[in-house]
């Protein structure tokens, strides 16, 4: 029997019966998405869709507006989270067990090696995606007001990503893991005053042993995951509040803000009192209010337009990581041997630029000051660069400084990763490649 207030072309189909049932309607509460209001209601009433705004700038639909790098980072993180949980079922963070567990994973566990490969390549890709996301945001000037603090949160997420990689590196307890982490943690020693103490605190002793392995494991699976979710919540929430706008679309919002600044409207708050004793509750610009600034034709509904595009990107990212995992094995060298340093001993590729720097400068400069100043400069960037313009021709200095630093780091990384062999001697990669990702 058809309910009188719910006209339907197939009243007796199973689908409509389910959709009209009290149980289904207690779960999915939004009305039909056949009107703008219905679509908006659907987004408001769904915790997952609510991460997106109801409507987004049409310009955002172009892949090249953001290259989807932030979203890709999130997808890769999700892949790492899921494969990481699988790995936890088979891994014991003990010096006597860890390496054997790696071999067990390869030989006994169904798809065990594939899961480890996907975790490894996913982690490398995530570092790349996060770095390119930072580069894209810099080029677009998207760290400028009002998004300064969200840039700082983003730098925090980059640091957490690198810390994830570094702590994860030790866990297989092979020669690659042991010596990369030895070099990495001994760098901390050069921090003036507290360096040696900090290193021992991190390792839980003066050498890399059982305490260090357990600490790195707990930091990797618990501490960093907590920090990541906390930062990610703020990052996404701020993104929603400040808008996903990009490029020209953002200029409209910026112009409105600039006009508001001209009139010093920012100084008017709900605590402002007029001379006649009335209180100001809000200011509406009659000519250039939000209604005028936003052109409805420039916006589309996030569902389905943006979310479908995100799903395609997510599937492509999964396919890429899976293909890499099928094609290439994650390296596992011999059991860690504290008496024998392999030739050459390289840090993970994203730290190999630092290692190259270490071969030329004092460790205090190359290992502590250079990365410290780099992170501090990234954090301070939106507060130093107060130039409000986002057009490249107005930002020559900022862009030149940024690209110079980026190029220097890239060159150091390529030299360290591909052109260095035993004893950190210079080798040509086409003659012998000493590179293990």
């Amino acid at each position: 029997m058809t309910e009188p207030h719910l006209p339907s072309s197939k009243p007796h189909s199973w689908r409509s019966r389910v959709q009209e049932s009290a149980v289904y309607r207690s779960i999915v509460r939004s009305p039909a998405a056949d009107s703008p209001r219905g679509r908006a209601q659907r987004a408001f009433g769904n915790v997952f869709l609510h991460v997106y705004p109801v409507r987004v700038p049409r310009a955002l639909l172009r892949f090249r507006s953001t290259w989807r790098l932030g979203f890709i980072s999130t997808v890769l993180f999700t892949i790492l989270l899921i494969t990481g949980v699988y790995l936890m079922f088979f891994y014991t963070p003990a010096v006597s067990m860890a390496y054997g567990d790696m071999q067990l994973l390869r030989s006994q566990v169904g798809f065990g090696q594939l899961i480890r490969n996907v975790h490894r390549w996913g982690a490398h890709l995530m570092v790349l995606a996060v770095v390119f996301h930072l580069v894209r945001v810099f080029i677009d000037g998207a760290y400028k007001a009002p998004r300064q603090f969200n840039w700082v949160i983003g730098v925090g997420l980059l640091v957490v990503t690198l810390a994830y990689s570094f702590t994860g590196y030790l866990l297989p307890w092979d020669q690659l893991a042991y010596w990369a982490v030895t070099v990495g943690s001994d760098l901390v020693q050069y921090a003036p005053g507290v360096g040696g103490w900090m290193r021992n605190f991190l390792l839980g002793g003066s050498t890399i042993g059982q305490a260090a392995l357990l600490r790195f494991y707990v930091i990797h699976v618990a501490v960093l995951t907590g920090a990541f979710f906390l930062l990610m919540a703020v990052h996404l929430w701020r993104l929603r509040k400040d808008g996903l706008a990009v490029g020209d679309v953002d200029k409209v919002a910026h112009d409105v803000t600039a006009r508001a600044d001209d009139h010093d409207l920012s100084l008017v708050t709900s605590e402002t009192w007029l001379p006649d004793g009335r209180r100001v509750l809000g200011v509406v610009d009659t000519e250039q209010g939000p209604g005028h600034a936003r052109v409805p034709e420039d916006e589309v509904f996030a569902w389905p337009h943006l979310i479908i595009r995100h799903q395609v990107v997510a599937l492509a990212a999964c396919a890429l990581v899976l293909a890499l995992g099928v094609a290439f094995e994650a390296p596992l060298r011999e059991l860690a041997n504290p008496n024998l340093t392999p030739e050459p001993s390289k840090a993970p590729w994203y730290f190999v630029g630092l290692q190259e720097l270490l071969a030329h400068f004092d460790p205090l400069v190359a290992g502590v000051l250079a990365p410290g100043v780099l992170v501090a400069a990234l954090v301070a960037l939106p507060y130093i660069d107060r130039n409000p313009s986002r057009r490249p021709q107005d930002r020559r200095v900022a862009l030149i400084v940024f690209w110079s630093l980026f190029t220097a780091l890239a060159v150091l990384t390529v030299i360290g990763a591909l052109f260095r062999g035993p004893g950190w001697g210079f080798v040509l990669p086409w003659e012998h490649l000493y590179f293990e990702p």
């Binding site: 340093t341 392999p342 071969a359 950190w424 001697g425």
Partner: protein, 166 residues
């Protein structure tokens, strides 16, 4: 002027929160600070001095050090590179210690010759007790500062690093 009830309550929750944060920090520090090092080392009696001729380097696995001889003096040299902690092997071809990580080179007495290391290799005190070389690994003596070389060991001409090293 005595505080109002509102001011007192506000100060109360702020001080209380501050104490909670301090307690959490203290707990974290006390719980996570490294335990006393159990691998503190000991006194290792080794072979008689004649077993360690000039130009050789004998690795002692128990203490992770090399026993070498230079100018008729015996040294127990910690294997750990003072630069970034890599295990430095002895290179027979050059008669020197050559670090595989960043290319620091030390002579047979552990003194710095070249590379990015901040000092010479660290040593343990050596004594002859009852005709046997005895090394005390509880005392680590920091390596000699750069440019203070006293024991020139002959360069054998060879090298364990690749020939085209920059």
């Amino acid at each position: 002027m005595s505080p109002t009830r509102r001011e007192l309550l506000e100060a109360g929750w702020k001080v209380g929160s501050g104490l909670l944060v301090a307690a959490a920090g203290w707990t974290t520090f006390e719980a996570l600070k490294p335990l006393a090092d159990v691998s503190g080392g000991g006194v290792l009696p080794l072979l008689p001095p004649d077993a360690y001729p000039e130009g050789s380097a004998t690795f002692v696995r128990e203490g992770r050090f090399f026993v070498t001889r230079a100018k008729d003096e015996l040294f127990a040299i910690s294997q750990k590179c003072p630069h970034l902690g890599c295990a430095v092997p002895f290179c027979e071809a050059s008669g020197r210690f050559e670090c595989p990580c960043h290319g620091s080179v030390y002579n047979a007495a552990g003194e710095w010759i070249s590379g990015p290391a901040p000092r010479g290799m660290d040593r343990y005190p050596v004594q002859i007790v009852d005709g046997r070389v005895t090394v005390n690994t509880m005392v680590l003596e920091e390596g000699a500062p750069l440019g203070s070389r006293m024991y020139d060991t002959p360069d054998r001409g060879g090298s364990c690093a690749p020939a085209d090293e920059a």
